[in-house]
């Protein structure tokens, strides 16, 4: 009985070996695919995935105040961000500050703090009226974005 079982298993072994020899290219390709895909997934972790965070910020600016514009932004792969928002008028800045404190905006961040506030006048303003008109308010923020999974296009 055992001998009969052995014979049957030996036949099966031969059959599978023949199938595997036939599929050796597929096997090599599968192993290569998985190996390279593992490399791909590992290296992808180095990416800052800037776009979703940038989009969040740009849409927040347009929602909060019409006079707000993004002066500069810096973000690294750990989602640590520094950004400067510029305003042409004081009211716009106050509107933005109110929005910044809302849950809607803060929900995008793990941490956020205002690092500095700058008031500057654009060069070339000769009269007092011109000078008042060309005032620029700048707010610098530092913080860390929450991890976003979806990448908006």
């Amino acid at each position: 009985m055992v001998r009969g079982e052995m014979q049957s298993l030996s036949k099966k072994k031969q059959l599978y070996l023949a199938l595997l020899i036939n599929d050796k290219d597929i096997e090599a390709n599968t192993r290569y695919f998985k190996g390279k895909q593992t490399q791909l997934l590992k290296y992808e972790k180095d990416d800052a995935r800037f776009l979703p965070y940038y989009s969040v910020l740009v849409s927040a600016l347009s929602t909060s105040s019409q006079s707000a514009s993004l002066d500069s932004i810096e973000i690294n792969k750990d989602r640590d961000a520094t950004f400067i928002v510029k305003f042409k008028d004081y009211d716009g800045m106050v509107q933005f500050l109110k929005y910044v404190e809302s849950d809607e905006f803060l929900n995008s961040f793990d941490a956020l703090s205002m690092a500095s506030l700058n008031l500057s006048r654009e060069s070339g303003s000769t009269t007092k009226i011109q000078s008042a008109l060309n005032k620029n308010y700048q707010l610098q923020f530092k913080g860390r974005f929450k991890e976003l999974n979806d990448q908006p296009s």
Binding site: Y16, D23, N29, F33, K36, D47, A48, Y54, S72
Partner: protein
């Protein structure tokens, strides 16, 4: 005298106890036979277990391959070409220049200079700092494009973008290369996500793969001696 007496004693002993001795001898033979049969049975059982395990492993391997074959619909060769293009086996500087050029052209974000960042470069990773110019829309297209759009895997660890004058955008980009090494003893089973990811990348890159080179037949006879 003593020896003769001993031999005589043994003879008497055998004559008196021969049925007992025969029984003992038979018992020893039977025990030896049983032990030998048991050893053979155990060895056969062991061989059978090993063979069963081998067949099981071969069956799993074959089933996995058949599953992978069906899942990838024979596209695995194309996927591998894409992966090799994204992460070549050894660094190819021309493909880096080509990738930067392609990303720049496709996005409209003008890459004006690039320098190799040696402090951040390793055996597997080449780090390049680029400076680019473009309005926020072009910059957004660049962000959409840079990862796979040039036909190489590009990651960015740090991005500085100026949304006002559009001239001070500095991006640090990484390019990768690594030799593939066989390290798994089991054939990996692919899943739908693996294939979906590659299909997604395939849509993002435009790579023209070279067909197998067909040997060109010479129309004229080649002469060894020119004279």
């Amino acid at each position: 005298m003593i020896n003769l007496a001993s031999i005589r004693k043994i003879r008497y002993f055998i004559r008196d106890y021969w049925p007992t001795l025969l029984t003992l001898f038979a018992l020893v033979i039977i025990t030896l036979l049983i032990m030998a049969s048991y050893k053979t049975y155990k060895e056969t059982r062991n061989d059978l277990d090993i063979l069963t395990e081998e067949v099981k492993l071969l069956k799993n391997r074959s089933d996995t391959l058949q599953f992978n074959k069906t899942l990838t619909e024979d596209q695995i060769v194309v996927y591998n070409k894409i992966l090799t293009s994204l992460i070549p086996e050894s660094e190819d500087y021309f493909s880096i220049i080509y990738a930067l050029e392609t990303i720049s052209q496709n996005s409209g974000f003008n890459i004006v200079s690039y320098t190799i960042n040696l402090s951040n470069t390793t055996k597997e990773k080449l780090s390049i700092n680029i400076e680019g110019r473009g309005d926020p829309e072009a910059f957004k297209r660049f962000l959409n494009e840079y990862k796979f759009g040039g036909g190489r895997l590009v990651t960015s660890e740090r991005i500085e973008f100026s949304g006002v004058n559009f001239t001070n955008t500095r991006v640090s980009l990484n390019f990768y290369s690594k030799k593939f090494a066989f390290n798994e003893s089991v054939v990996p089973q692919l899943n739908k996500n693996d294939v979906a990811k590659l299909e997604d990348i395939k849509k993002k890159i435009k790579i023209a793969f070279k067909d197998e080179e067909i040997p060109i037949k010479s129309e004229y006879e080649v002469k060894d001696n020119p004279f």
